[in-house]
């Protein structure tokens, strides 16, 4: 019984949230890695691309709510997602046309692109603050829980309950579908193969007649879709707050770099590695240990490796270690 309680406790506070957060980071890191693979730079505006996508979803959700359109028990934001993706795609394509295209033409170095993307980031931040302001907004409606902690306890006669939020199941489900589709697209369609070919060897791709313009536009569109979906799922799971998305930039890059920049499968795995490290290191294991250790060995403190406020240090640490020890990531990617 004690062991089961311990397991449920861990499931409730580490495994279930980790799976959801890992999926969100994985989707976000996929976007970063796609842009790196095709355009060869780290897109610092990616966090705010997520914020922008989530913001459109929020606005459309408000509109739908005011029209009393709902898909309950599913959140209305899901209905808004396609519109949000389209809007975000238009925005990033506009930035590509207005900013990055110029730097491609003059064959600017990757550093210039990174700085340009930082500029784009500030513009996006301004845009978002101008439209919805900096505050917390509630994106979620529909039913909140699939399994409630109390019901779980009663059903199994345990001390500990396992709560599963609708947003967590949605996150996992949508991530699986989107990732399967993305890999099917990249490996089974002519256009997807052309995109991988372009990322592999740009000159040979040109010689083969693959149009750089098409590949670049496709990469931005896919990135917009991934970032928006990640942003909306994160917003449903936690809350919509513009600054939070900016903060997600660090774990996103840690995930993409752990997985090897430019490697989609690696980015996904990296998302889960970073998520579980962050949650696993900031979780207080005291109650867990109380269940599995004899009374005499009961821990005095919280047994928390790092307090939650420092969770970003985990990503930072992972990032630094990977860059020092294995700059191409655990799964071979391009050099970061």
């Amino acid at each position: 019984m004690e062991a089961v309680n311990a397991l449920v406790l861990l499931g409730n506070y580490v495994i279930v949230p980790g799976l959801a957060y890992g999926s969100q980071l994985g989707l976000s890191a996929l976007g970063v890695t796609l842009i790196y693979g095709v355009l060869r730079f780290s897109n610092f505006a990616h966090g705010d691309t997520m914020a922008f996508g989530a913001m459109i979803a929020l606005l459309v959700t408000w509109l739908l709510q005011s029209m009393e359109i709902s898909i309950a028990p599913l959140p209305t934001a899901l209905l808004a997602l396609p519109v949000a993706i389209a809007g975000t795609a238009l925005l990033v394509l506009a930035f590509d046309y207005g900013v990055y295209r110029h730097f491609r033409r003059v064959k600017a170095s990757p550093v210039v692109f990174v700085i340009a993307s930082t500029g784009v980031m500030f513009v996006m931040q301004g845009l978002i603050r101008f439209i919805v302001g900096p505050n917390d907004r509630n994106l979620a409606d529909g039913s909140r829980f699939i399994v409630r902690a109390r019901d779980f306890k009663d059903a199994f006669g345990l001390n500990e309950g396992l709560a599963i939020k609708a947003s967590q199941v949605l996150t996992l489900g949508i991530t699986i579908v989107l990732v399967l589709w993305l890999f099917w697209f990249l490996h089974r369609t002519k256009t997807g193969k052309a995109m991988r070919a372009y990322a592999d060897n740009e000159d040979l791709a040109r010689l083969s007649g693959i149009s750089p313009q098409t590949v670049v536009m496709l990469a931005w569109t896919l990135t917009a879709a991934l970032a928006t979906t990640a942003g909306v799922l994160y917003g449903l799971d936690k809350t919509f707050k513009p600054l939070i998305y900016f903060h997600l930039l660090l774990p996103t890059f840690a995930a993409a770099i752990v997985g090897g920049l430019g490697n989609p499968l690696g980015a996904l795995a990296g998302g889960f590695i970073v998520a579980f490290s962050e949650i696993g290191i900031t979780y207080a294991y005291k109650r867990f240990l109380v269940y599995i250790l004899p009374e005499s060995m009961e821990p005095a403190g919280l047994v928390q490796l790092l307090s939650t406020e420092y969770k970003f240090a985990v990503s930072f640490f992972i990032l630094v270690v990977v860059l020092l020890v294995r700059p191409t990531g655990i799964f071979a990617g391009r050099s970061a």
């Binding site: 193969k193 052309a194 070919a197 990322a199 592999d200 060897n201 000159d203 040979l204 040109r206």
Partner: protein, 234 residues
């Protein structure tokens, strides 16, 4: 007149002129070989023929049609294909995907061509699901040639197909090139392994500092004492 005629090409990179009036030809079903010291401009000449390098004077004529001013892609559509010296495959794509990408511009079914390539290079058939990055040097070069053949070209430009390939594989590669030429394809290639390459050449060009130094049939050049002394190591 030859099928491919590049005449008096002058050109280079930016302000540096590398080619100072060099002329090359290739014929369907024949092998033309360019040899010459490192930095002579062999690769540059091939890039100029494909339109990858700016040409300020001279002309390129393919099958009686002038190609001047056309983009590399347009030249590929007219029947040219190139196998670059390095980075000539997509390393993270499978062998089959590499070949498919070679046929990217084609709108007709490519299965027959794929089967032809696999017949020509049986080793590629065995490895069709392997990633190109895992191939050996010789296999990779065969893939690079196969990729170029996917557009059903009339003319193939090969830049040092045996560079970085194990010595025992070099003869096999030359055999393959002969078999490609036998399909009535015009081959223009440059080579470091000069004597081996000239041995299979119908026409040979010795290029020095962007200019033609000697021209002749393969056997002629191999027999020429000056060519032997300066370029074939005695």
């Amino acid at each position: 007149m030859s099928y491919l005629v590049a005449k008096d090409l002058v050109g280079g990179y930016g302000d540096t002129t590398i080619l100072h009036g060099c002329s090359l030809t290739a014929d369907c079903g024949r092998i033309s070989v360019i040899v010459g010291p490192n930095g002579a401009g062999k690769s540059t000449a091939m890039k100029a023929i494909l339109g990858l390098v700016k040409v300020t004077a001279g002309s390129v004529v393919l099958g009686g049609k002038n190609l001047d001013g056309l983009s590399p892609q347009a030249r590929v559509r007219r029947g040219m294909a190139i196998v670059p010296q390095v980075e000539n495959v997509f390393p993270s794509l499978t062998v089959q995907e590499n070949l498919e990408m070679g046929a990217y511009l084609r709108r007709d079914p490519i299965n027959d061509t794929l089967e032809e390539i696999y017949e020509l290079f049986p080793v590629l058939a065995d490895m069709r699901l392997k990633t190109a990055g895992n191939l050996s040097g010789g296999q990779r070069q065969q893939l690079a040639v196969g990729r170029a053949l996917m557009t059903k070209p009339t003319t193939v430009l090969l830049d040092e197909p045996t560079a970085g390939v194990a010595p025992i594989v070099i003869a096999t590669l030359f055999d393959m090139i002969i078999r490609v030429a036998e399909r009535n394809i015009a081959i223009l290639m440059c080579e470091q392994n000069a004597s081996q390459a000239l041995a299979i050449a119908d026409v040979g060009f010795v290029l020095v500092q962007g200019r033609n130094r000697h021209t002749g049939s393969g056997p002629e050049l191999l027999a020429n004492p000056e060519v032997r002394r300066s370029f074939l190591g005695g």
